[in-house]
Symmetry: C2
Subunit: 712 residues, 2 copies
């Protein structure tokens, strides 16, 4: 985040002084308008409009505090300020190389009318496509430490919108999405039946996670989430189904309270993105813009990459994480008796290194390398893994040397089993070990109930834990890919070494559960991905027929798996299938070899949540473009204008498409690859099979390509 | 604990095979008899007798498990074994140099009659003066991980005994003792009024802490506690006041459950010490004997010592722990503005080092040396202190050098404010810092509500934390003095670097609260001290008249403060008062200079809980004896036989006694010192003032002492 070239227009228009309590305060940008006032009881209330359409009807703001029962009303307005900001900044990596941050800011200064006259500010930022706001507790004599018992923030919707939701679970975001009206939200059945999710705690039948995606009957797209979640619990939304009112519901601490706060304090931002066009939801950088700039000074060691991994073979039952079948399976010397199925053995890892090196893949993730996997899950056990002790058949020294000689990095794996206390004890030791053996990135995991017992994955303490891990990793120049953390809120801007998270329902569910519907990947970018990159683990070529999970099938076509490299963004992007499966389709694998993981530009060509998404991206520092198109269970014909290409320039397009007879269910692995010359005038027709997709690479044509046919 | 010379008699009498469910199983040693049987419902029941007197009437055993609602009954006896052990071992330090461990052991093997046929063993050890028993969960197919929801162990007393109790509080043992009948126990008023105790959580009005001391109408002394508390919550006792029944009440986790257990598992020992003589309660080594031998191989670096400290001056308001008056009190450079009252400054610490060096005191504790004290208490704040960052006026390098040049060690202070998670993060760094600067011991502190939030000082997680700290300290060859931990249970045998704990109401309460009654120190050895040494901080010479706490007074005479060095044992023993207060009474301070902290032998000369205690101890590796005698609010004349001295040998006794007109309230600092020749035939008369005491040093006479008068 260094060397940002910024031009900042900052006009401070101070409206301070005169406090008129019932004054309506407004701010707008383009079609988006924010209104704020104190109601008759002195309660702060806001509303949001898009043109003349109400987006958020007058809704509550504020908190109830455990140590101040009167903090929810009787406020007076002591002043307000408006500021306009227009700046541009450059992310270390991302979907675009440069981000405009343009907003109108209103700061509302509130004070309790009665003693102890506590202060709270509300800061609104109005963007072209939405509003962000947060609460600030300035330094003040009568509110130093306080306990948030509830957040009152409301989002009163103007109608019974169509929503794409998952249950408001304190410990997981890995549910499949349900599409329903607000009035139909009820998570009980889904929670009860989702037995493949390790830990489920969803006490409120009418609570949903954010990002919550909605579509209104009159054509608005609304997305509610939060930005910059640090030192506070995650916000879920409680749904009043009769009145279409959503209310912030914070994930509790073991005490039942929500947050322990020390003023001065700024809450995370509550975000409302609103457009009349689904594509603009995906383009929005509102959440990133609301996050703080990088806290890491030197970011030169942070490098997006693709990786393969010793992982899918365990998911599909070919191998195991554990070295022995039982922690008690010991030989006469007290050593574990090997089960013969342990995947993370030196010879096998070398095969992955060889494959990666041969195909220009920079990383090899190895799971199951360290002791503890015989008895790691489901017992709320505090001391599970050592993060510096390999199994006897994993020669860390030799593998480091071998990978290094091939220009490949092994990616560390630290599964904590949810025991965050134990991970914190071992972190320094673990990261020193990574530095010693040349590991430049780590995948963490939190599969299991959290320790400290009573804490939740998405509560304040764990939110701080993930940040601590990102900071500690940065201290050691280690890139982070966090699995099972709280869902992201744009913190990748502040900690650009926190490259990706899982925090959602990844491709793995197609291996170990009944899977996800074909529409899943058309919803994810509008929900989970709004907060940040996801390690979704795309690239499965062998769609079904795994001997150990014969009843399982990835709900996709092979071509769609390629499209995901574009439609589901991550700077750490896995090619998740086994080398032997790729080797049968090296023509298709060429796309994965070619595709970038860091981008100068991104165009959302078409998008509709639940139906389809088509995205084109320009690889960083090149003239190459890549397109990904995915559809739901329906087939789809697309005609795409390539008018984003440089005018007058010829390009070679390689089209990786579903075969004409492809079908996610019956014939998923059938694909066709075609190569043409294209230019800015080309209208590219893509035929997506049911549950299918298409991927296209577009590179400037060279003299060698002259013989190619121009695409018509 | 190395080089133990042990002679072990081990007779295994196997009664296995024949399982007769209603069989009465007995074991006895001298007057103590244990009986065990399964009742008609298959519930395990035990009772204890002393001669023909019932000590524990038939009482319940076992647990309820969260994952097995039927675990409390329907057991069958599958076998039992009896063993006799008589061995002797040598503690690294202690009240005696050699400890006999002589017991009769019965192991009861129980099995659920019905599926899942889970197994539990109960192991009883019957000693000359009591019984210890614990539960063992052997490795078994159907009980691997389990959750203890309650312990059922009962202690049904045979009458409405006199008890010496403090409230069963999850977070503190710092209450004053109440003497009452069992039927009168009700902790509510005391809990409510004890506002000087930082954290009080005592939800059960009828719960008390252990060690619980009792005296029966027919002259028995009974003490109930536990031994070897690791990986389990502390046991408190719920009191059924009508039936005189005590029931184990475990301190809960934030979830409400009590313990998370992984079989094979052995619970802590439940201990019942019973005698017909109060002195034998204090002599008993039952609790130490039930603990595991040292886990530390090389113990040569563990050295008992006396110390002074920059501490009492803060307690009495002369100085402050904090360097600035407010965390926000910053100068233009953002540095804290000093308040001028910070005690842990280089010049002041040097004064203490000088005093220690001049008087043969080995250690100087310095509290308030590290940043964080401006805002450390009462806000359940997670990140409070740095354990490696001194205040600007504390020159750690210079002081290390200065202390070293004088042969004195500075004692590290790590107050955690209850934030155990943060201490665990910093522990390695903190201990490396100690090693670097030559600190050989650390005083830890846990003043405040525990983080992880919802955990308690005495719950399973914190119990493990204290053990982790002791282990980590041992790794770095650091001795530990833990303040505000769970009360000790003899773990100083297993971790002999865990020299002392506070875990009780120390002398400090006489400075910052209304204080403790004169009887307090006659109860402590029967209660808190039963589990292990206490850092009580004796040696206050200036009893009252502190200008900043003019209304406070230590409830003692000066002579009694000297006696405490004998009656309240600790291998880390503080001389707690200020050097300038000692300098006014260097004749009395001579006793503190002379007194030992490690002993070859100990004789309890007289004892009655709540009334008086007189103890003689023989300093390790010498022929010197030291006597301490304390009384309650009543004055007392004692006549002590010195028949423990070597026959035919002359000794010089220096008697530090209350002056004739001394009185704890009106004239506490009046004392007299007399010197005589004594021998094994001497009957020493000591006159203890109201709230007073006496101390005596006895050393072999030399030729120089020939002119001394023989004591008559």
């Amino acid at each position: 985040m260094k060397k940002i070239y910024t031009f900042l227009m900052c006009l401070a228009i101070l409206h301070a002084a005169k406090a008129q309590d019932n004054k309506l305060i407004k701010a707008s940008m383009n079609k988006v308008r924010l209104e704020f006032m104190l109601d008759a009881e002195g309660k702060p209330v806001y509303s949001v409009y898009y043109g003349e359409k109400p987006v958020i009807k007058p809704s509550a703001l504020g908190f109830t505090l455990a140590n101040d029962s009167a903090f929810d009303k009787h406020f007076e307005l002591t002043g307000s300020e408006q500021t306009s900001v227009d700046e541009t900044w450059k992310p270390v990596w991302g979907e675009v190389s440069s981000i405009r941050n343009h907003y109108q800011q209103v700061t509302i200064h509130l004070k309790q009318k009665d003693s102890p006259n506590r202060l709270m500010n509300i800061v609104f930022r109005v963007f072209e496509y939405g509003v962000g706001f947060r609460y600030e507790f300035p330094k003040q004599p009568n509110l130093k430490y306080f306990v948030v018992s509830n957040e009152l923030t409301g989002f009163n919707m103007a109608g019974d919108h169509k929503t794409f939701w998952i249950p408001g679970d304190y410990d997981t975001n890995e549910y499949p999405y349900t599409t329903s009206k607000i009035s139909e939200i009820d998570n009980r059945q889904l929670v009860a039946s989702s037995t493949d999710i390790a830990v489920r705690v969803a006490p409120d039948a009418y609570a949903v996670q954010t990002p919550l995606m909605m579509k209104t009957a009159d054509g608005l797209y609304i997305n509610i989430h939060e930005a910059g979640l640090v030192n506070f619990p995650a916000m879920q939304l409680h749904v009043d189904r009769s009145n279409y009112q959503l209310t912030a519901s914070l994930v509790p601490a073991p005490t039942g309270n929500k947050a322990y706060v020390h003023a001065p304090f700024k809450s995370p931002w509550r975000t409302i993105i609103v457009t009349d066009n689904a594509a603009d939801i995906l383009t929005s950088k509102l959440i990133l813009n609301l996050n703080d700039p990088s806290k890491i000074e030197n970011t030169s060691w942070i490098k997006p990459m693709k990786f393969v991994g010793v992982w899918w073979e365990m998911q599909t039952g070919k191998g195991t994480w554990n070295y022995s079948n039982d922690a008690d399976s010991l030989d006469a010397k007290g050593q574990l008796i090997p089960n013969g199925t342990h995947s993370a053995n030196t010879a096998n890892v070398k095969k992955y290194i060889d494959f990666a090196a041969a195909n220009g893949i920079q990383g090899v993730l190895v799971e199951g390398w360290n002791v503890g996997w015989e008895d790691w899950f489901g017992n709320w056990k505090e001391n599970v893994f050592s993060f510096v002790t390999p199994y006897p058949d994993f020669d860390v020294k030799e593998l480091t040397q071998y990978a290094g000689s091939k220009g490949v990095h092994i990616i560390m794996h630290n599964e904590t089993s949810g025991s965050a206390t134990d991970y914190e004890r071992q972190m320094d030791t673990a990261y020193r070990f990574m530095n010693k053996y040349g590991y430049t990135s780590v995948k963490t995991g939190y599969v299991g109930k959290i320790i400290p017992r009573g804490e939740h994955h998405d509560g304040q303490w764990m939110v701080q834990h993930y940040v601590r891990v990102a900071q500690k990793a940065a201290d050691y120049h280690v890139m982070l890919d966090a699995h099972e953390p709280v869902r992201p809120t744009g913190l990748q801007r502040t900690y650009p070494n926190w490259m990706a998270s899982e925090a959602g329902r990844g491709n793995e569910y197609n291996a170990f559960s009944t899977g996800s519907k074909p529409e899943h990947e058309t919803i994810m970018p509008f929900t989970r991905l709004m907060g940040g990159p996801m390690d979704y683990t795309p690239g499965i070529f062998r769609i079904k027929g795994y001997s150990n999970v014969p009843d399982r099938q990835v709900h996709t076509t092979l071509a769609k798996q390629l499209a995901l490299y574009i439609t589901i963004y991550s700077p750490l992007q896995m090619a998740a299938d086994l080398p032997e499966n790729y080797e049968k389709h090296m023509d298709a694998f060429q796309f994965i070899k070619d595709v970038a993981v860091d981008w100068d530009d991104t165009k959302i060509l078409e998008a509709e949540p639940g139906d389809y998404i088509t995205i084109a991206r320009k690889a960083k520092g090149t003239s190459d473009w890549f397109i990904g198109a995915v559809t739901d269970e329906n087939n789809r014909d697309e005609s795409l204008s390539l008018n984003f290409l440089d005018k007058g320039k010829k390009y070679v397009a390689i089209i990786y498409a579903d075969a004409d007879n492809a079908d996610w269910k019956e014939n998923p692995e059938a694909y066709q690859i075609k190569k043409y010359l294209v230019d800015a005038n080309t209208k590219l027709n893509l035929k997506l099979a049911k549950g299918g997709g298409a991927a296209v690479s577009i590179k400037p044509a060279t003299s060698e390509d002259k013989g190619l046919k121009l695409y018509k």
